[in-house]
């Protein structure tokens, strides 16, 4: 069973084709980078995987289930692009809420929340309201919630957005730790160097179509970087 899969998915918004016969699959334990210029359809693909939108045609599976079923999202950590967190809520209360929604109970909640705060380096800000935090710290809170409950699959949309270079380096370590314990990762990002470091496989979307996909080492030619590949396939 794949951690996530799109099979022949087309998605239209009125006349506009956001995704055109897109297929990819993320095997368990693999890290997958979804790349493409703005408007290529990356966020649409993530929204389909989470059941936030339905495909016009084709099939979407999340952990083997239709994503509209809430059971499909069990043990899935999601980090949306520019995550909007409840500004008036305290950091620890926000994380406790998400820990409970993730299915944790009793002492597990406190343990996981503390671990998330510790991991993302925001333990000293736990009692502050989210609205009082900088963009970078709020992004760390968003990361902490995505990691709650040791998810088997992480869906990350532009995860390093808002993080400073130190935060980006930390995020890389958090992702490495998740991968080492066997989590699958789907990362949509513009930061190609991050994807190059963190992902095993990539798919490059352009105008709703996949123009290149496969293991990174097979796609990138000798002497070429991921950025070179990206420019080559997107510009044709």
């Amino acid at each position: 069973m794949h951690a996530a899969e799109l099979r022949g998915v087309t998605r239209r918004y009125g006349r506009r084709l956001a995704l055109d016969d897109v297929s990819f699959a993320i095997p368990p334990g693999r890290s997958f980078g979804l790349l493409g210029p703005n408007g290529a359809g990356k966020t649409t693909a993530l929204r389909l995987l989470l059941g936030f939108a339905r495909p016009s045609s084709g099939e979407v599976r999340l952990r083997g289930l239709p994503p509209t079923r809430s059971a499909a999202r069990q043990r899935v950590g999601y980090l949306p692009e520019s995550a909007k967190l409840p500004a008036r809520m305290r950091v620890d209360r926000f994380l406790r809420l998400h820990a409970r929604l993730a299915g944790l109970s009793g002492a597990e909640i406190g343990r996981e929340v503390d671990a998330g705060l510790e991991l993302t380096g925001i333990s000293d800000r736990a009692k502050e309201t989210i609205g009082s935090l900088s963009k970078g710290l709020a992004q760390r809170v968003a990361f902490a919630q995505a990691f709650l409950g040791r998810p088997e699959l992480l869906l990350l949309d532009e995860p390093t957005s808002g993080l400073d270079p130190l935060g980006m380096r930390d995020a890389r370590e958090w992702l490495d730790a998740a991968r080492q314990r066997g989590a699958s990762v789907l990362m949509s990002s513009h930061v190609l160097s991050e994807v190059e470091r963190a992902c095993d496989d990539v798919a490059i979307l352009n105008e709703g179509r996949i123009v290149a996909s496969g293991p990174l080492e097979e796609l990138v030619e000798p002497g070429e970087t991921l950025e070179d590949l990206f420019v080559r396939v997107v510009r044709g």
Binding site: A71, V76, K84, L97, A102
Partner: protein, 267 residues
Amino acid sequence: MRSAASTFFILSGEALADATRRRITPVVAVVSVLSLMAVDGCTGCASSFVENGQEIDPTQIAGYSGTLLFTVLALWTCVLAGILASDHLVEPLADGSAALILGRPVGRSAFALARLAGVLAITFVTGLTLLGVTAFLLSARHDLPIDASVLAGVAAAVGWVIVAALSMLASLLLPRIAVAMLVLVGVGSIASVNLVAQLGGTLTGLPFLIDQWGPPLASAVIAALSPWIAPAQAFGSGTELALRLSAWAIGSSAALLVAVRRIEIGR
């Protein structure tokens, strides 16, 4: 995985906490206190009423004035429920914060019902305080039977559910200001036609349809309070009004859930 009921209770607690953190909540509290002061003044008045040169004992008209006061407060809380609901669901959907919740193993129905419950909790506290104090004062000062006000309170509470659910439903389609206007115009229109019908006026066309088939927000409250008015008048069938009120509450909540299941999140 958590049960849907457990998820609903977790989300309801958060929705209530979110509702209490909103800027409108202190305003509601202040308006409620002012309303209670007005109620205290209204129920304590001892003005003299003269008809055909004869002074009438104010307690003789207490039934009418009490019914009017109670109905106005019930409708005011209907408006409150509608205004609070006009952005309580759509705001987290629009700003993306709902996406974090719905990215969890959380059903959309549980999420929507929890947001509705958050609004209703605030409305219930406000409404039950206002209506409860009013009923107590009218009973203590004018001997109006309190059991009628209990039934009227239940009718009002079902009305809050209807207005809040319809307001949330409308908020998925219309901007907040339009929804707020719709709540004011809708509750006002229903109350007007209900009142005209209760006073024996003749209704035709749309007003007739609203009175006969619409949610009987005012009719049901007035009918429940009929023991306050002597001699007893015909206020329509209580059973028919109760069934219609219940059908609207179930129908509006179901319509909200269907709409929430169909919308796209985060676009």
